[in-house]
Symmetry: C2
Subunit: 340 residues, 2 copies
């Protein structure tokens, strides 16, 4: 099958249903005798019609994986189990993060721990983690054993990074000040590691050479970093850039995101304002203005731009096929379009 002339939209239409079918198949491995457990996972994935089924998340990780497979010259079907695996890992971590962060809603639906209690939700997350590993170990497609082991090694290394990143994130909550470097280190584990794993898996599955594999890995990593930093910008200045984004989000919740940390690091006045127990609307506006004045927005945008540039450069280095390169560049632009 040729992918010449295919646009990103064509790939969405082709791949998204296949990805969901594969994830459904993995979840079907749960025995029929455990109907509630199966229901919990399906509910979390957004497939239970009577429970506000959609939206279901953007499936960015499996999409990146499959596009990396195709872009490296292999059939996308060879990557389907691994694609399901990265999405399952992502969702396992969401289930546990929601408990850890006490988040009551996700994608407009009540979170698992709110509906079924913390014990059952922890356990359902553990099961989703098992199913992720299982998807790769049990893949009956066409991968050689050596590739399967390579994929599992990478997945494990990634999950270790994920939990290390989450550990830091939780730790930082109780620390008054953390440095920008500490923060970047944290998001490299919590966000970028799994995106980097997804694109690198694409290279492994396609049997790409070391150089292409390195570029694809770098692409996923930089995209992940850029994505999180853009999110941080929107968390403070969102209403100016995107319609419908919550107004004072990160400042009001005193989240230590990149622009906020940069501002705190650069200004004692900011630190003083920040230390107030409750931030009222005046304080929030004052903080936002101060942050802009001392260049926190510009500085953060510069960092986002730098990661985004590296991501684009890596695509160009990794992918030779024009049509596939365009698709990956479009996807990257779409994900990061919220910033210049």
């Amino acid at each position: 099958m040729s992918f010449k002339e295919k646009t990103l939209e064509d790939f969405f239409q082709l791949l998204l249903p296949e990805i969901d079918n594969q994830i459904k198949e993995e979840i079907e491995r749960i025995s029929e005798n455990y109907s509630q457990l199966k229901y919990m996972l399906r509910y979390h994935m957004g497939w239970e019609e009577n429970e506000g089924a959609r939206p279901q998340g953007k499936r960015i990780r499996p999409l990146l994986l499959l596009l990396s497979v195709i872009g490296s010259g292999e059939e996308w079907k060879c990557g389907l189990s691994a694609a399901a695996a990265v999405e399952l890992v992502h969702n396992f971590s969401l289930i546990h993060d929601d408990i850890e962060d006490k988040s009551e809603y996700r994608r407009g639906r009540k979170t698992l721990w709110v509906k079924w209690g913390i014990p059952q939700a922890i356990n359902a997350g553990d099961l989703m983690f098992s199913l992720a590993q299982n998807a790769i170990a049990n893949d009956k497609k066409s991968l050689e054993n050596s590739k399967t082991i390579e994929l599992l090694k990478l997945l494990q290394k990634t999950c270790i990074k994920l939990t290390q990143g989450q550990h830091l994130d939780l730790l930082f909550e109780s620390e008054e000040l953390i440095t920008v470097d500490q923060y970047l280190n944290m998001i490299s584990g919590k966000t970028a590691a799994l995106l980097s794993c997804s694109t690198e898996m694409g290279a492994i599955i396609a049997g790409a050479n070391e150089e292409k594999r390195r570029h694809l890995k770098e692409f996923g990593f930089s995209l992940g970093m850029a994505f999180q930093v853009v999110d941080d910008i929107l968390g403070v200045w969102g209403e100016e850039d995107v319609i419908g984004k919550s107004v004072d989000g990160d400042i009001a919740q005193k989240k230590k995101t990149l622009p906020i940390l940069y501002a705190l690091q650069s200004s004692r006045d900011m630190q003083k304002l920040w230390r107030q127990n409750v931030l009222d609307q005046n304080a929030i506006n004052e903080l936002r203005n101060q942050m802009e004045k001392i260049g926190a927005k510009k500085h953060t945008e510069k960092i986002a731009k730098s990661f985004s540039d590296t991501a684009m450069k890596s695509i160009n280095l990794a992918i030779t096929d024009n049509s596939m390169r365009d698709a990956l560049l479009s996807l990257t632009n779409q994900l990061l379009s919220r910033v210049n």
Copy 2:
């Protein structure tokens, strides 16, 4: 190296330090930058000297795995990573179970969630789970790729069973009556699956034929079932059999263990007594007497005996070497010695 004439005690002395060294090595994969996270896992394993280091658990699963490897004619060193993996899975599940059951102490030490809070404890459990998988996928010993994949598949299947068993256990808490069959199904996942996985892994690593593999798997499974059922008996009649066991444990806490379920299933009087909100000492004694009278103790002992017999028979069928067979029979006896 010959194992002729070696006793179980010799194997303990040889293997226990090697098992702990291997687990320590797996935990050392956590980067030095995450010292608190590493400390949490080492603390849970009982290796932090200033925190009441011992006791550390009996390492039954890795011991069974390595003895199964030797008994199937292979070098025990080939099984070391897998041995670490099953112990890490066991301990990951303990960390999460302690949160789910609100247990404040384990092995005389405060549990992770009590010391570091639920969010960090969930995450530390997730990391331990990742390290378990990683131990096998990254094994640099001498296993062929096909065996490594076989081991990982089995580990995943087992973890799915573990979480299914735990799901039922949590579910049963809020159900007034569950049947003996439902209970046996629950412990087959929660307890027997990982023991069965351990002995079957031994067979896989040694490249044993299908028949031996089946017998070893059956041995681990039956031992696991027997072990749990014996525990249930001790939870009600412990003081008569074992010195130092808590007096009224399971009845006072209204745990739905096997003898209690059997009694409830067989007698309406029992159900009536059981439904009292708080069980005082009189009610506990009355319940225990009633249970004995209607044959709950005898019946449960019969079930334990039947599993224990199957375990012994399976050892005899799986292991031809006399000295190894004796070691495994001794270990089984030691674990189940608390019942006739």
